[in-house]
C-alpha cells in the first residue's frame, strides 16, 4: 500500500515535470497560474490548521515580490537567489508582525492581517526612490528571458515546496501541537505546548511561502506595482480554493486550486470585469452548505461506505 502510493506520487511528479515536452505554451501559462495559487492556498490552509485566519496573503505576496525585484535590480543578484531572499524577508517581517499581534487571536489577528495588504501598499507608494512609487518597477527582462518551459519548472518547484512543507507539518509533532491549539488553547497550554511560539513559527513559515510565491510571480511577469502586487485577487482566490477543496488538509487546497484555476480561465473570458464575484459566492456557499469542502465531504462519504 505504502509503496504503491509512493510510486503514484513519483509517477504524477514525472508526468508534471515532463509536461512541457508534449503540450503547448498556453497550457503551461495556465499551469503557472494554477501552481502559484495552489502554493498560496496551501500556505493559507497551513495557518488555518492552528485556528488562526489570515487575510494578509496579498500583503506578504507583494512584499516577497518587491523584495525579489529590488534585490535583483539594485544588488544585481541572480533572480533565483533574489526570490529565495525575498521569501526570507517576508518571513522575517511576518516574525515581527506575529510577535506584536499574535498575543491576541481570532478576529483581532484576522482584521490586522486584513489591513496588511493596504499598509504595505501605502508604504510602497510613499517610498518612490526605492520602489518606484505608484507606477511600480519594471524589470528589463523577465526571468529565463520568458522561456515558458523553465518558468513552468519554477512554479512547479514552488508548488512542490509548499506541498512538501504542508505534508511535513501534517506528519510531525507540529501537527498535533497546532491541532490542539485549534481545538482548545487552554488544554494545549496545560499539556506543555508553547502556544505563542508555535503560532509565530507557523505564521513565519506560511508567510515565507507567500513571499516565495510573490517573488516567483514578480519575476515571471517582470514587474511590480502597488495595485498589481497587493491585489485582492491574491487573498480572495486562494481562500476560495482552499475552502472549496476542503480545509485542514494538503489535498483539499490542491484539488480546489486545480478546479478553480481551470474554471477561472473560462470565467475571465465570460465575465471579464466581475469574475471575482464567483469566488465570493463560492466562499459564502461553501461556508453555508458544506464547510468541509469537496475533499472533506467525499472523505466522509467513503468512510461511511467503508464501515458498512
Amino acid at each position: 500500500m505504502r509503496n504503491s502510493r509512493t510510486l503514484l506520487y513519483i509517477l504524477i511528479l514525472a508526468v508534471l515535470f515532463t509536461l512541457p515536452f508534449y503540450t503547448g505554451v498556453y497550457l503551461l501559462n495556465v499551469m503557472d497560474i494554477i501552481l502559484i495559487y495552489m502554493a498560496l492556498a496551501l500556505s493559507w490552509d497551513m495557518l488555518l490548521r492552528s485556528g488562526q485566519i489570515s487575510f494578509g496573503m496579498a500583503g506578504l505576496f507583494g512584499v516577497g515580490g518587491y523584495a525579489a525585484v529590488l534585490l535583483h535590480l539594485n544588488a544585481g543578484l541572480n533572480p533565483l537567489v533574489s526570490i529565495v531572499l525575498g521569501s526570507l524577508i517576508a518571513g522575517a517581517l511576518a516574525w515581527l508582525i506575529g510577535v506584536a499581534v499574535l498575543q491576541l487571536r481570532g478576529m483581532y489577528f484576522a482584521i490586522v492581517t486584513l489591513a496588511l495588504a493596504e499598509i504595505f501598499r501605502v508604504i510602497v507608494r510613499n517610498l518612490p526612490d526605492l520602489t518606484g512609487g505608484p507606477e511600480g518597477t519594471v524589470l528589463p527582462s523577465a526571468i529565463f528571458s520568458g522561456n515558458s518551459t523553465k518558468t513552468y519548472w519554477l512554479t512547479l518547484s514552488v508548488a512542490v515546496v509548499s506541498i512538501i512543507a504542508s505534508e511535513i507539518f501534517r506528519r510531525t509533532r507540529i501537527h498535533f501541537a497546532l491541532t490542539s491549539i485549534r481545538n482548545d488553547e487552554i488544554v494545549a497550554k496545560s499539556s506543555g505546548i508553547d502556544v505563542f511560539k508555535y503560532l509565530v513559527f507557523i505564521f513565519m513559515v506560511t508567510s515565507a511561502i507567500q513571499g516565495l510565491t510573490g517573488g516567483a510571480y514578480a519575476h515571471i511577469y517582470g514587474f511590480v506595482s502597488p495595485e498589481g502586487s497587493f491585489s485582492v485577487d491574491f487573498t480572495l482566490l486562494p481562500i476560495a480554493m482552499a475552502l472549496l477543496g476542503g480545509m485542514h488538509s494538503t489535498w483539499g487546497p490542491v484539488v480546489g486550486a486545480v478546479l478553480l484555476g481551470v474554471v477561472s480561465e473560462f470565467l475571465k473570458l465570460q465575465i471579464p470585469y466581475g469574475h471575482l464575484l464567483v469566488y465570493g459566492l463560492i466562499i459564502v456557499i461553501t461556508i453555508l452548505f458544506f464547510p468541509q469542502g469537496i475533499v472533506g465531504t467525499l472523505g466522509q462519504r467513503f468512510r461511511k461506505y467503508g464501515s458498512r
Binding site: 506584536a100 482584521i111 490586522v112 464575484l277 465570493g280 461556508i287 453555508l288
Partner: protein
C-alpha cells in the same frame, strides 16, 4: 467618586487626552482641529452600527463598509432616475436597507451564529467580496460623484476658512449616538437587546425572543449605515472599493474602545480623526495618514495583551 478613580475609567482617560490635544491644536493648526472633528464624526457614524452588531449579535461584519457603498449607489440611482436629492434619499435608504439587512440576516447570517468564529469571519469576508464585485459589475469601477452646489459651503473666521457642510457628519454622529443610547436604555426593546447581548441563553429563559432581537439589531444597523451612505456620497466620490477601508478603521475604533462601549467609539474616533488630519497637514507626508489606524490598532493590541498578562 473621586477624580482619580474617575480618571481610571477608560472614557475619561481618553477624554482628557483629547481635551489637551484639542487646546494645543486650536492655537497651532486650527484647520486640523475643525477638519479632524468632521473626519472623526464620519468614522464614528460608520463604526457605531458595526459596534452595535458586534456587541449584541456577536458577529464581526466584514461587509459593513460595503453596505455603506451600496447606500451611496442607491442614493445615486434615485438621483439619476427620479431626480431626488441625496439628502432626501436618506429616508427611502433607511427603509430599503432595513429590508436588505433583514434579508441578509435571514438568508445568510442566521446560519453561522452558532458556528466557529473562523466561519463567521470567512462568511462575511465572502459577502463583502460578493457585494463589492456586484457593484463593480453593475456600475463599473469608475468613481461617481454628483455635482451638488451646497457641499462646498464654507465659513471664514479672521483669516481662517473652513468647510461648513462637513458638519453634517457631526450632526449625524450625534443623532445616531444619542438615538442608539436612548433606544438601548429607555425602550423595552432596546433593554431586551442589551440583555441578549450580555447573555443570550439567560435572555431566552426570561422570555425574550432572541432570534427576533438579533434580526432587529442587525437590520437596524444595516439601515443606519446604508442611509449614511447617502450622506457620504454627497461629499465623496463613490466606487466599489470605497467601503473597505472604513470596515477596517471601524474595527480599529471598536477594538480601541472595547466591545459594547458606544461612547468610547466616539472618543476613539476623535483620536483617530485628529491624528490623521494632523499628519495630513504636513506637506509631503500626507500619504502616510492612511496607515495611522494600523499603528493605533497594533499599539492597542500590545497594551491590551500586557494588561491581560498582568491580570
Amino acid at each position: 467618586m473621586s477624580l482619580v478613580s474617575k480618571l481610571k475609567q477608560r472614557n475619561y482617560q481618553i477624554a482628557v487626552i483629547i481635551a489637551v490635544l484639542a487646546v494645543i491644536l486650536a492655537f497651532w493648526k486650527p484647520h486640523v482641529l475643525v477638519e479632524g472633528l468632521q473626519r472623526a464624526c464620519l468614522y464614528a457614524v460608520i463604526a457605531l452600527p458595526m459596534a452595535l452588531i458586534l456587541g449584541i449579535v456577536g458577529i464581526i461584519n466584514l461587509a459593513h463598509g460595503e453596505y455603506m457603498m451600496l447606500g451611496g449607489y442607491f442614493a445615486y440611482c434615485l438621483n439619476v432616475y427620479v431626480g431626488m436629492d441625496p439628502l432626501v434619499a436618506i429616508v427611502p435608504a433607511l427603509i430599503a436597507f432595513f429590508l436588505i439587512g433583514m434579508a441578509s440576516y435571514r438568508a445568510i447570517i442566521k446560519y453561522v451564529l452558532g458556528a466557529p468564529e473562523l466561519n463567521q469571519l470567512l462568511l462575511t469576508f465572502g459577502l463583502a467580496m460578493v457585494l463589492e464585485q456586484m457593484a463593480n459589475l453593475i456600475w463599473t469601477s469608475r468613481p461617481i460623484k454628483l455635482p451638488l452646489k451646497y457641499v462646498s459651503a464654507s465659513a471664514t473666521i479672521g483669516s481662517f476658512t473652513f468647510g461648513t457642510y462637513e458638519f453634517i457628519y457631526v450632526g449625524a454622529a450625534m443623532i445616531v449616538l444619542v438615538g442608539l443610547q436612548l433606544f438601548l436604555k429607555r425602550t423595552s426593546m432596546g433593554q431586551a437587546a442589551l440583555a441578549v447581548g450580555q447573555n443570550p441563553r439567560g435572555a431566552k429563559l426570561v422570555g425574550i425572543h432572541v432570534d427576533r432581537t438579533y434580526l432587529l439589531i442587525f437590520s437596524l444597523s444595516i439601515a443606519l449605515v446604508g442611509a449614511f451612505g447617502a450622506i457620504f456620497m454627497t461629499r465623496h466620490s463613490i466606487f466599489p472599493l470605497v467601503g473597505a477601508p472604513f470596515t477596517m478603521k471601524s474595527f480599529c475604533l471598536i477594538a480601541m474602545a472595547g466591545i459594547g462601549n458606544l461612547m468610547g467609539v466616539l472618543w476613539c474616533s476623535l483620536i483617530l480623526g485628529l491624528a490623521e488630519n494632523f499628519v495630513l497637514s504636513f506637506r509631503g507626508y500626507a500619504g502616510w495618514a492612511d496607515i495611522l489606524f494600523f499603528a493605533l490598532i497594533v499599539g492597542v493590541i500590545i497594551v491590551r495583551s500586557r494588561q491581560r498578562q498582568v491580570k
